[in-house]
C-alpha cells in the first residue's frame, strides 16, 4: 500500500519524553482527522511502548528511542518504536497480562495488553542484548466519515 506520509524521531529515553512522544504521534495521525477515541488509543499505545523502552529496555539509565511513523493510502497508521537496550528474554511471557519483571516499581504488567487492545496489530521483535522493536498498526477513520473533533 502506497505510503502517503512518514517521519522518524529519535529521542533520549527520558521519562519526561513520554508525553512528548505520544503527542507527536497523535499530531501526525491527526492529519487524517480520526475520532478523539482513536487518537487517545494511539496515544496510550505509544505511551506504553515508549515507557517499556525507558524502564525495561534501558533500565532508566538513558539510551535512545527511535520512533518511525508511516501513513498509508488506506488510512493505516504504522508506529515502530525501537530501542537498543537489554531486549526481552521470553517474549511470550512478557506479553502475558499482569506479567512484570519489575513489581518493585509497581509495574502493572498490562502494557502489552493495552497496546493489543488499542491497536489493530502489535508485533514485537527482540533479541537479548540487542534491543526491542515494537511495530503497531491501526486503521484510522477519516473526517470524511463523519467530521470529528480532535483534541491532542
Amino acid at each position: 500500500m502506497e505510503v502517503t506520509n512518514y517521519f522518524t524521531l529519535t529521542i533520549p529515553a527520558y521519562s519526561r519524553n513520554e508525553s512528548f512522544a505520544r503527542v507527536v504521534v497523535a499530531a501526525f495521525a491527526a492529519q487524517l482527522d480520526p475520532t478523539l477515541e482513536e487518537i487517545n488509543e494511539v496515544k496510550t499505545a505509544v505511551s506504553e511502548a515508549v515507557t517499556n523502552a525507558i524502564i525495561h529496555g534501558y533500565g532508566e539509565k538513558g539510551g535512545e528511542i527511535v520512533i518511525t511513523c508511516t501513513l498509508r493510502a488506506d488510512n493505516t497508521l504504522e508506529v515502530i518504536i525501537k530501542d537498543t537496550g537489554v531486549g526481552i528474554e521470553d517474549l511470550e511471557q512478557a506479553r502475558e497480562p499482569l506479567f512484570t519483571t519489575r513489581p518493585d516499581l509497581e509495574r502493572s504488567g498490562m502494557g502489552f495488553t493495552v497496546m493489543e487492545e488499542f491497536m489493530d496489530s502489535v508485533s514485537v521483535d527482540s533479541k537479548p542484548g540487542q534491543g526491542t522493536v515494537v511495530t503497531m498498526t491501526k486503521k484510522l477513520s477519516t473526517g470524511e466519515q463523519g467530521g470529528h473533533e480532535t483534541n491532542l
Partner: protein, 113 residues
C-alpha cells in the same frame, strides 16, 4: 499533572488533573504516601474529573496505593472519569477493585458518611 488533597475525617479526597503516566506517577505516589504516613487516613476518594490521560503506569501506582489501604481494610473509590480513563479502568479490571461512582456525594455515601 496537578494534585489536590483534602481530608475529611478519615477520608482523603485526592484530585488528579492532567496526564498520569510513568513520569508523573512518582509524584502521585509520594503525595499520597506523605498523607498515609501521617496516619489518620483510612479511605481514599479519587477525583478524576480533570484527568485527561492515564496509561498502565498510572494503573500501577493506583493499584499500589489500593494495596496500602488494604493493610487496614481501607477502600479506594473514584468518580468523574473521562471516557478515555474510564476505558482503561474497564479494560484492565481496575473498576473491580476501585469502584467508580458518578459523583463525590455517592462516594461518601458508599463509605457510610
Amino acid at each position: 499533572m496537578k494534585i489536590t488533597k483534602q481530608q475529611s475525617g478519615d477520608i482523603l479526597v485526592v484530585g488528579v488533573s492532567g496526564e498520569l503516566d510513568h513520569h508523573s506517577s512518582a509524584l502521585l505516589k509520594s503525595e499520597i504516601g506523605a498523607e498515609l504516613d501521617k496516619g489518620g487516613v483510612r479511605h481514599i476518594i479519587l477525583d478524576l474529573r480533570e484527568l485527561t490521560f492515564m496509561d498502565s503506569s498510572g494503573l500501577g501506582v493506583l493499584l499500589g496505593r489500593y494495596k496500602e489501604l488494604g493493610k487496614w481494610q481501607g477502600k479506594m473509590l473514584a468518580f468523574g472519569l473521562q471516557p478515555v480513563v474510564e476505558k482503561m479502568f474497564r479494560l484492565t479490571g481496575l473498576n473491580q477493585l476501585i469502584p467508580v461512582h458518578p459523583d463525590l456525594a455517592s462516594c461518601y455515601k458508599a463509605l457510610g458518611v
